[in-house]
Structure formats: C-alpha cells, structure tokens
Subunit: 462 residues, 2 copies
C-alpha cells in the first residue's frame, strides 16, 4: 500500500504562484473596451482592488504568496496527492493514476484557493465588503468562507432558481455569515428592472453578475469590491498552488506525468493543476495536457477564438477566448456542471499555441465514470470532476491496449455531496446526452459580429 497517499509537510507548501503569461510563446491578448481599445488598469479600479489588478496584468513568472494567505490555506493544504490504485485495479491498466485531492477544503472544492487570496488582497487594500454572483453555489460558498475568516462582509447574488431549488449551498453561505439573496433582487437597479419586466424569472448568472458589480461600484464609501471565481488571470494564478504541490509530490516518489487532465468550465481548476506542467512542455518535456469539457457546452472543442464579453449581460471588458457567444446557456437537461459560454483567456491562448489538447464528453459517459469511481475508489465526485475522470478512464484503457506504463495525473476538483440530485437523475435513467446543434451554435456566434475584432473569429488570426 506504499504511496497511495503522497503528503507534503506544511513547510513544503509552495511560497510562490506561477504565472504562465510570462512563458507563453506569444504575448497574451489584452482585454478590450467596447471601443476596441485595450482596457487600462485604472478602468478596472472601481470593480477590483489595485493589488489584484496588478496581478491580473503582471508579466512576472513567480509571484510571492503572502504569509497571511498561507496561514489560512494551511487549514487543508498541502492537499494530498493520491494514487487511484483501486481504479487502476478495476481497469486492469498498467497506467499509474494520481489525483490531486482538492475536495477536502471546507467548502469542498478548489475554489477557496483563490477566494482566500482575493479576500486577503481586498482586505489589505482597505476594502471591507465583497460582492459576487453564484449559480449552484460552489463559488458563493467558497467566498463566504474566505470572507468570514478574514472578517469581510460578503454579499452573494444567487440565481433564483438555484436559491429556491438547491438550498444547501445557501445554508452553507449563511453558516459562514454571508448575506445570500436571490437574484434578480429588489436591491439593485439591474435587478429591479428585470423584475419589473419578468416578475417570475428564474434568474441567470448574467443578471446576478450585473447585480453584484452594481452593488460594488455604487457603494458611496468606496469600500466594496467585486470578486470573480474563475476565468481571469489572477484567479488562475492563485490556483497554480495545486500543480506546484503536485509537482513536488510526484518528484518525492520519482514520478513524472505523461498525461495531465482537468475539467474546464471557466478554466481555473484545470489551469491550477496544469500550468506548471505546461511550463515544462514549453521547455521541451513530452506531456499530453488535456482540458475536458461537456459536449453540451463545447467551448474549447468547437467554438472559435474571438473577443467576447465575459458575462451574459455584456458588462465586462471583451476577452480574447474560445466562446460560444455570451448569450449561450446549456439546456437544463445538462446536469454535469461546467456551463460557462467562454473560457479563461490564458487557457485559450495555450490551446491556440498548441500546448493543450481539449476533449469533450457526453454527460452519460461522465456520470458512468463517476459511478465507476465511487464504486472503486469509494469517493463521490462533483459532476464537473467526473468529466475529467471520463478522460482518465479513456487514457488508462488506451495505456492497457498499448501495454504502456503511463503516468496520468488529474485534478480531483471537488466532491459531489451537494450534487446528489444529478446522480439520482442519472441512476433513475432521467438524463440524456446532448450535443449542441451546429445551427444553434452559429446563431449565438452571430452576436460576435457586432463586436470589435470580429474578423478574428473567421480568420483565426489576430
């Protein structure tokens, strides 16, 4: 039973984050305003504190992690690296499968790695309140947790249908002292406007983002800012502690990964694990790096690389990324998480550079993988994470066919204890696969025609 858990001492926790922007073969395309001109850091100041804006645009390869952040991360970090010996046995594969276990943080996912960092930098900057939006509540609960430990006020706009139908994440936020309200709400102009027109709307992430940003920028004391849980460069940066720890853990037992896998919704857990290995690949290492998404939301595998808004409500700067169009939302039949129309610009640029090999799975395949996982390894995974496990199983089977002792590393980004209704639907035969029809995708993509740099989408050049 040697090496089924590879642990790091607290003293071996990484002291710096890794910034892939410093090593990408071509420079990262900047965010643009609606006029097509690059957004200056100052323009973001009402939304984010300047110390995080500096990280967002930093060209530095390594950025120090402050002790105040490490002191909170120590609660559950360094996270264990585990070897999936029971899945290996079940698959009868010569592959050695390792997973970085991010499910043991108090909110149950990788999200607090950045929630804690963002709350800490905001506090350092003199901010006393953060606002954010949340869908099913994973991000909202992570930020509520971080704000409580750093004694910041936290207000979460939660999409109304989740607020009503999935009360458990809401209760978690309340346990951690956050003010979680259903969006659209009567507390912002954006919310009131929507409620006037559609009093019975189930809400959407786009509306919730608009409300959270409005609440932040209209605070007359200037002490409120907005916080985002994925997509942006500084968020991905904070997650690289995952991959940096995993690297140390693999080195400890003399292993090097041949394949690195993570699921990608906005891109932050995938980037967190993989970017330190992308750096190795840039420096010549032979590694296959696979971001995985659902066929219901095929951003990386089918959508063009283009400038688009980060949110449905068109309030953010334009980001250069693979995008299905800002109005795209996967159909309700899709239960397997990962519902974002775009993808982190850093991840997308790495795809364009040929460093990553994105892949998509149907949700039935992913739930099947989740059940295989629960019945061999014993843990119940988040539906998002099961997409990664589907790819792990495919690669482990391939290694068996080829008779190769491949080393596979993946990110176990969260547990599924708050997502059991999806399992229930799967086990009861109430889920079906869904593939976005080409015509529908093109319909959403038309929205991009009116935006700056629209020619990028068709030419593939910039």
């Amino acid at each position: 039973m040697e090496n089924i858990k590879i642990l790091l001492d607290e003293s071996d926790i990484p002291r710096q984050w890794y910034n892939l922007a410093a090593d990408l073969p071509t420079p990262l395309l900047p965010p643009l305003g609606p006029d097509g001109k690059p957004v200056s850091p100052d323009m973001l100041a009402p939304v984010f504190p300047m110390n995080l804006i500096e990280q967002e645009v930093s060209p530095e390869r390594w950025i120090d992690i402050p002790d105040g952040i490490l002191n909170i991360l120590y609660r559950w970090r360094p996270a264990p690296l585990r070897r999936a010996v029971y899945l290996e046995k079940h698959l009868d594969t010569p592959a050695r499968i390792y997973y970085k276990d991010e499910s043991q943080s108090p909110p149950g996912s990788h999200k607090p790695n950045t929630a804690v960092a963002q709350a800490w930098y905001n506090k350092e900057f003199g901010i006393n309140k953060l606002t954010t939006e949340t869908g099913a509540g994973q991000w909202g609960s992570a930020l509520a947790f971080a704000c409580k430990l750093l004694e910041l006020e936290c207000k979460v706009f939660m999409v109304r249908i989740s607020f009503d139908q999935k009360p458990f994440r809401k209760i978690m936020m309340q346990v951690w002292g956050a003010n979680c309200i259903a969006s659209p709400s009567n507390e912002t102009n954006a919310g009131r406007k929507v409620l006037e027109e559609m009093p019975d709307t189930p809400g959407s992430l786009g509306i919730a983002i608009s409300e959270a940003i409005e609440e932040a920028v209209t605070d007359s004391t200037g002490k409120t800012r907005y916080s985002l849980g994925s997509v942006l460069n500084h968020v991905l940066l904070h997650q690289t502690i995952i991959g940096l720890e995993a690297k140390k853990q693999l080195e400890k037992i003399g292993e090097k990964p041949d394949i690195v896998i993570g699921c990608a919704g906005g891109g932050s857990n995938f980037a967190g694990l993989s970017f330190p290995f992308v750096a190795d690949k840039i420096n010549g290492a032979e590694i296959t790096i696979i971001p995985v998404e659902p066929t219901a939301c095929p951003t990386m595998t089918r959508a063009p690389f283009a400038y688009d808004f980060g949110d449905t409500a068109c309030t953010t700067p334009l980001l250069a990324m693979h995008t299905l169009g800002h109005a795209f939302i996967p159909p309700p039949i899709h239960a397997g998480g990962l519902r974002y129309h775009g993808m982190a610009p850093l991840v997308c640029q790495a795809i364009v550079e040929g460093l990553l090999e994105p892949r998509a799975y149907h949700q039935l395949e992913s739930y099947k993988a989740a059940i295989t996982w629960a019945r061999s390894e014993g843990f119940i995974t988040a539906p998002e994470t099961s997409q990664a496990i589907a790819a792990v199983i495919e690669e482990a089977k391939k290694a068996k066919e080829e008779g190769k002792e491949k080393v596979i590393l993946f990110n176990y980004s969260g547990h599924g204890l708050m997502d059991l209704t999806g399992y229930d639907a799967y086990l009861s035969g109430n889920l079906t696969d869904y593939e976005l029809p080409e015509e529908e995708m093109q319909k959403y993509l038309q929205d991009l025609e009116k935006l700056p740099k629209a020619e990028m989408r068709k030419s593939g050049k910039w």
Copy 2:
C-alpha cells in the same frame, strides 16, 4: 504554523485494535435472554457471523487488524490529527486543542471504520449479503460503501420519514450500489404487520431493526447476516483505531491529553477515541474523559444502569447499560442527532467504574458551538459532533479562567454537509431547547420493571 496538522505515515497505522473489556476493573456484565440467563454465542449465530461473535465476547486486550481491512482503511487513514489554532485564538485560551478528523472518510464520518471491518469478516465467513437499518442514513451509507468495496450485497431499511424527507443519504447508498428501501416495507412480516395497522406511519428505528434482522435470519441460503453500527463490543473495538492513531500522533509532538472528549449516541465514536486513554487512566494517568450527550436524550447523565433491550421492538438480547427505556425517542424538536435510548455497555460500565465523566448540553448551546467552529476553524460539523465541541469550548474557557495550559483532545466524528437543514432551523430561530421531564422519563423506565434484574435499576448494584 507548525503542528496544525499532525500526519502519520501509512506504515504507522495501528495493526491491532484495543479491547477495553480486558482492562475494566470488574468484568463486563453479559447480555441476557428474556429468561434472564446469559446469551450463548451460538444463539447469536443466525444474526452475526461467528468471527464477529468471537470478537464480541473476546477477553483479549489486543486483536490483530487483518491486512484486507487495512487495505481499505488506507483510502482515508491514518486520519489527520489537527490542532484547532483558530478556535484557540478566537477563545483566547491557553489550552491546546487537538481533534481527530474522522470527517474525511468517503461517507463523511467514523462509521466506515467498523462498516469495513464488519463487511470484511462477513465476507471471510462466506456471507454474501448484509442487512441493516438506518435513521437519517449515516450508518446505512457507511455500510453501503463498505459492501460495495468488498463486493457484498447490501440492503438498508431506512426509516420512512427520513427516506422521504432526507433523500441525499439514500442517493449516496444507491451510488454505492445498495438497495435502500423505506421501512416499514412490504418485504417482511414485521413490516407488513405494521403497515396493515398503520398504513401512514412515519416508521421508526425499532421497526427498521426488526425488518433488517428478519430479512437476515429468514434467508434460506444462510448467506445473509445483519450488521449494527454502534453499541456492541465488536463495533467499539473497530473504532479504537481512532484513539490509537491519535495517541501516536500526540506522542510524535510530545503532547499528552489532560482532557479527552467525544459525543456519544450509541457510544462508538466516543469509545473509539477514548478507550486507549481510558486504559492509561486505569494505569494511573491523570486524564478527564468526557462523553457528551444532548439534554433531550440524557442516557448517561440521568438514566439508571439497568438491563434493557437494545431496540425499541424488543428483539435483541438484554444489555446492561444506562437506558431511558427501550420505548423512548427524543421529540422531533431535537435536531442535534444522538437519539438512542441506551448506550454501549462498555461505555456504561466505564461510567459505573468512575472512569468517565458524562455531561449533557442543550441543542442551542451545541448549534452555537457549531457556528463558532465553522466561523473560526472553517469546517461545518455534524450536529452530533457539535455536542462535543460545546464541551471543548467550555473546557477551553475554564482553562483560560484557571490560567492553565491544558491539552484537550476530541473526536471530530463527522462533517455536517448532509445536515444543513438543522443549521437552517437554528439560524432561523426555529429550534428551542428541550429537557426531558422527570415524570416522562419515569414513565418509560416503568417498562424495565417487567425485565430480568429489574432490581439493578433501583439498587445500583448487580
């Protein structure tokens, strides 16, 4: 941040369980039949496999843990010992507070320590199916998990009101492949009889036990047995791995506990942590050992030591224990877990011997402690565990008043992610305290008059 997580290598996992029965100052009182005569091991053979019955009555101090069991426990064991530095800081106490984290097992509690062992011994004995009952589902999910990993069939009779109102643990059981049905069911004589008389009954643990035992003993192949999640000697034995690990971990950093605390419903998580320290106390060490219960179910703090049935339906042998009477069930207003009318005989005999100092808390005090914990340490605890935390906080405050650097150790027996509705009720002000009225208690205790050795209750002698 030194020593906030004290980890053991896999190679340091205990290889033997500790049996307190070998060291108790007076021998354990035997279980009795309804005729008042000791139950022989053979009489239990239709219910449990003989290898577990041997453990139940074993006088040996140390019992080897088979490798087949360790190979499964390695998934999450050795469990971390953590220091609650953030709670210490919040309370400004000179006490050093350590907790054994049993919440990170796949089912989220200490329960799989015995579920895995029981499934393994049953399999070894040639059994291919286990039955059990479950209330809210913590035990049922642990046994489902263990049976899946050992390839045994598992059937769980779940109290109907929980089956209908708390579907998540049921889904967990299904993810692990168990057959979980609402009790009373149409699948047993016991169930059918109840349904005929009361078709709309919410069910009870007593009925579910009767169904599970009937299903086991009536299997004509002889390959089915019944499994219990607490109370019995062999169950407590399997849990001692918790305290044995904790002892090694404290030794590693040169600490010895002054106070050991655990919540006690049936007694297994408390016993698991504390019994190795009870042994030290028997050998002269100065340790205060505190089992904690709710005032709504004051078994150890107010009930007599007497022979009573282990179940509401009066199908088990009579056990010598503190008991509120087998018909007692706490009122629905009690949300904080720990609802059993009796207590493990080994724990009770240690109380009678003066080795333990039981204590009871109101549920509002316990939920208050749970919120303090979540907002300082960051983790959301099971309502049962919060009873232990209430005692920890009281002892840490006392240490502050006395200016003493006490070392407090407690068992963090499970997370509260499946119990968030209790938190919601508390935060919404919908919970109240409840103390069992003396007259009501005496009413339930009258049932004991008709049982063998009834004089024990009043004389306190046997």
